[in-house]
Structure formats: C-alpha cells, structure tokens
C-alpha cells in the first residue's frame, strides 16, 4: 500500500509543478523608494481614491529622496529585484529645500554606473510626484511595470523570498 501512496504523492507533486508552469507569466519584483512628504502622500491618495495599479511594487518610505544611497539600489539588484524606482518631489518643492537636487546629481552618476556594470539602465528610474498626483502615480507604476516585463527577468540569480529577507535580518 505504501508504494501506491508514494506514487500518488509523486503524481500530486508533478501536477503541482505543471500548474506552476502554466501560471508562470513573468511577475517582476519592483522596489519603490518614496519620499515622506510628496510621493508617499501621492501613493496614499492613489490608494484612497482607488486608482488601480499592478501589485508588483513594494514601497519603502524614506524621509527624503536624498536619503537613498546609491548602494541601496545596487544591493536591491544584487538580491534579485528587477526594477527600482526612486520618486521624489517636484523641483523646488522639497521639504528640506535642496534634497531632490542632491538626489538628481547622485542618480545621474548611478545610472551610468548601472549601465557600465552591465544592467539595462532603464531598470532604474528617477521621477517626481507631488502629494496631489494620485492618478499620475498609478499611471507611472503601470508604465514602469510594463517596461520591466518587456526587459524580462534580471540575469542575477534570485534569492528565495526576497521580500521576506528583511524580516529575517531584523530578527537577528
């Protein structure tokens, strides 16, 4: 009887695998850095006013977009994220006067660096969205995910459960 049970189990496994294969359209993992004062409020507004956008993104809130170090982006790519967005305020709207200007200078160089390393430079983008632009936020996310799906999966091997990785780190 036992070997029959084993056979059944194996059959179940194979079925599961087939199901997974049918399901596996490419679902990109996208990381978004939002500044607390403008773009995070914009994302909030998009949620409140029920503008639809793809569920592939995870948002990290930072106090200012200039808090994002270039290595954060590189580390995200190294862990297997397919695309990174940094969203800040419009020029001149920064809560800290000059924050977004600093990020712009930094990220131009970072974009070159990413291209030199051998990753498509458009996987990383810098945009600005204000607190009242919920509609624009959802459209931006739609466009960006479309672009990432066109690029396909990043060639760097993925770590399992990327989004759970952070929890493990904090537990230690």
């Amino acid at each position: 009887m036992q070997w029959i049970m084993k056979l059944f189990n194996l059959g179940g496994l194979i079925l599961l695998k087939i199901k997974k294969k049918v399901k596996s359209e490419f679902e990109p993992n996208i990381l978004v850095f939002c500044c607390n004062w403008c773009s995070y409020a914009g994302a909030d507004l998009a949620g409140v006013s029920r503008f639809q956008y793809p569920p592939n993104i995870r948002i990290i809130r930072v106090m200012c977009s200039s808090r994002v170090d270039p290595t954060f982006v590189l580390r995200a790519f190294n862990n297997g994220i397919d695309g990174v967005l940094i969203i800040g305020c419009h020029m001149g709207d920064c809560h800290y006067m000059k924050g977004f200007e600093y990020t712009q200078v930094r990220m131009v160089h970072l974009k070159n660096l990413i291209r030199y390393i051998g990753i498509e430079a458009d996987r990383f983008q810098l945009h600005s969205i204000s607190a009242s632009e919920g509609k624009q936020f959802s459209e931006l996310i739609k466009d960006f995910t479309k672009k990432i799906i066109e690029f396909g999966e990043l060639k760097i091997p993925k770590k399992s459960g990327i989004f759970e990785l952070e929890y493990n780190c904090t537990k230690k």
């Binding site: 270039p70 290595t71 590189l74 160089h109 660096l113 291209r115 390393i117 051998g118 990753i119 091997p157």
Partner: protein
C-alpha cells in the same frame, strides 16, 4: 584549531581541501619567524597601536587559530609590505611574507561569525565596491563600460597581439564624481599615445581584475571567476602582451593570475615599462617647455609587492622636457603607505598616515604629486579636498595637486 575547521564544515563550505592547504601554508610561513621585532618597528600601524605583525606571528605558532583570530584584528592590516623589506626571513618564494600570510588568514576566516562583524566594521563607501564585484561575478552579466571612448577619435581593435586593460577606471569616474578628478583621462591618454606609435591596442569589455575582493575580503572564489573570465577573453582575441595602466591591476595580472589560471602565457607590462621599451615619448613633441616641479609617490602594489618597479615611472617623468623630479624623504622601498588599501579601513588612523605622506610631498616644494595607483589618487585627493577647521589644511589645495602619471602627460600634450 580543530574546532575551527569543524565550524567551517558545519557551515556547509565544500572548500575543506583548500582550507587545509591554507592552514599548512600559514603555519609553515609562521615557523620562519625570528622574533626580531623589525616588522613592528617599521609597520605604520604599530606606531598607532592598532596592529603588531610579530605578535600575530608569535601567537600563530604558540596558540590556537581561534584565539589568534579573536585577539588580533587581521582586517586592520594595510598589506602595504613595509615589513617584508626589513624582515630577515623574507625571500621571493620562501620564508615569511606577512602580506601573503594575512591574505591566507583572510581567505580562511571570512565566513567566521566573529570576523564578519569585524569586516562590516571596516567597510567604506557603504560596501559599493564589493557589491559591484559581486554583481559582475555573475556569468550572465557582461559589462559595458567603453562608452567614453566613442567621443574621442581613438583607434581600438577587437583582436590583435597587444591589449590594454582599462579595469575599473570608468566605474570610479562615476563613483567619485565629486573629487574633481577625471579618471577617464588615464585610458584616453594611454590609448592615444599608443596610437601615435602606430599601435592599435585591443580594448575589450573585461570585468574587474578582482584585486579588491581578494585582498580586502579574502574572497578567492569570485577572484577565480574574474581571473578565468578575463584571461579567456584575451585568449579568444589572440592577445599576447597585456598593458596595464594601474598599479593594482599590474600586480594582479603579473603575480596573482598565473597562480590561479592554469595556462597563463601573457607578457604583462605596466604602461610606463611599455612606453620606455617602445620609446614612445621620445618621438612625441611637447608643445611648450614649462618648468614644473614634481615628486613621485611609490605605491605598494607596484613597488614592494609588485616586482619593485621603481625606475620606469621615474625615467618616463625625466623624458618630459622641463619637468624637474624632486624626491621625497622616504622613497622606493621605504615609501610610506597612502593609508588605505582596497577601500577598507578609512578612519582617523589612516587619515593620519595620509597626512604624513602629503606633508612630506609639500615639504619638497613641488607643485604636483604624481602617483600611478588610482587608489592613492582618490585617497590623497579626498584628503586635500576635505573641508576642515584647520587653516593650514585648507591651504593644501593651493600648495599641491595630486595627479596620475598618464593624465599628467595627457594634460601636457593637450590630449585631454
């Protein structure tokens, strides 16, 4: 020691054979020690009370590995090789060579839990360099860093006998954009001077040379990947001689790659060596003879650890008309370290070392400090451009300028 090895096996590392051989190497090296204390007298870090080479070697002989690694912070060592000059037991292939001993220790202990804490503590620039080399080590990723050559009308080939290894200079250009130094000037001048002598060098999209990940992290596996990729790339292009523009690339190509890659048959030249050999600067006419005073800083990777290549850059400087070379107090074998190696350990102690070296250079009365290593270049430039409350420190910017040898020649010839 036994417990230490067991820990490694439990961690799931399949590199047990390598480990055993490494440990044998270390102990056989340590047994040569005379305990004469000369290395401690010379070591720039022992004066700052951080690191004592002789005590480390002594402990390696008399106590267990675990104790040694907890009592001594091996990640503090600069691997500048000052100790190898004065050690009576240092020979070329035999005896005790402390930089290599430290390298072997780093290879073994990089996965140890206590050591990981120490490694993260000595990180600089938010780990950007190890991150980049980790990403580049993936087989699917092919770097694409030759864009800056398109703007200039330079002749490069995809296959041929002579190749020029650019290395990580275009990457450093983007990372240190605020230091006010253009790293891309170095490859541009070298390639254009080669072109003037009717040599069309092979320039390819190679990966990092892997120096930093080897010496700074002890990560031999990714280093091996880089070595195999780069040598295979050049073999496919039919390259026989490799010209390297920087000190660290020179050291890794000449001394580290042959140990790891099986059939390594390239001739490796530093660009100053190659220029002297082909007499390239003798045929070039400099537009004007302005009198410039210059000093030269010997980097460790081209000097003490890289076959003692002291004379060729100096002779190249002497070939430039109107340039006067004034030597500093400590030169050649005794040259002081720039303070930071492999982008680790940038702190107040290494700040002090940089201060020493820059003051030496200023005391000669020279206008330019010429270096051949891109790391010395960044660290000195970083020190000089640092904002501080001290007035004398702020005036350093007007007193001396730190430049690379190649870009210095390029500026004089109006190539860049």
């Amino acid at each position: 020691m036994a417990s230490y090895i067991n820990n490694e096996i439990k961690g799931g590392n399949s590199s047990f054979k390598i480990l055993e051989q490494n440990i044998k190497n270390i102990i056989s090296m340590a047994n040569y020690c005379f305990a004469c204390n000369r290395c401690v007298n010379v070591c720039p870090l022992s004066h700052l009370d951080i690191f004592f080479p002789r005590m480390l070697v002594g402990d390696l002989i008399y106590s267990s590995f675990g104790e040694v690694l907890t009592n001594h912070n091996i990640w503090n060592c600069l691997t500048c090789g000052q100790c190898t000059i004065y050690c009576p037991m240092t020979q070329e292939n035999d005896g005790i060579r402390i930089p290599e001993l430290i390298l072997e220790l780093r290879k073994i202990s990089r996965n140890n839990e206590i050591q990981i804490d120490r490694i993260t503590r000595c990180e600089t620039h938010n780990e950007i360099f190890p991150l980049i080399s980790k990403m580049m080590a993936n087989e699917a990723i092919i770097p694409n860093k030759l864009e800056f050559l398109d703007e200039k009308a330079l002749k490069t080939a995809e296959s041929g006998e002579i190749a020029y290894f650019i290395g990580c200079l275009p990457l450093m250009e983007e990372i240190f954009y605020n230091l006010g130094f253009n790293y891309n000037n170095i490859p541009i001048t070298i390639i254009s001077l080669l072109n003037e002598a009717n040599i069309v060098p092979v320039v390819l999209n190679e990966k990092c040379c892997g120096h930093d990940i080897l010496w700074g992290k002890g990560n031999i596996e990714t280093f091996k990947k880089f070595a195999e990729y780069n040598t295979q790339l050049y073999k496919d292009a039919g390259v026989k001689t490799v010209i390297v523009g920087c000190a660290e690339g020179y050291r890794t190509w000449k001394y580290d790659y042959p140990k790891i890659v099986d059939d390594f048959d390239f001739k490796v030249f530093h660009f100053s060596e190659f220029f002297l050999k082909e007499k390239i600067l003798e045929h070039v006419k400099f537009p004007y003879n302005s009198k410039i005073k210059v000093t030269y800083h010997d980097s460790c990777r081209m000097g003490r650890l890289g076959g003692k290549l002291y004379n060729s850059p100096r002779e190249l400087i002497k070939q430039i008309p109107g340039v006067e070379l004034i030597e500093m107090e400590n030169i050649k074998d005794d040259a002081n370290c720039c303070g930071v190696s492999t982008f680790t350990n940038c702190n107040e102690f290494t700040h002090f070392l940089r201060q020493n070296r820059i003051n030496e250079a200023v005391n000669t009365g020279a206008d330019y400090l010429i270096v051949t290593c891109p790391k010395c270049l960044t660290h000195f430039n970083c020190y000089i451009n640092e904002p501080s409350l001290n007035k004398e420190h702020n005036e350093l910017r007007n007193k001396i300028k730190v430049v690379d040898l190649a870009s210095f020649i390029g500026k004089l010839l109006m190539l860049v």
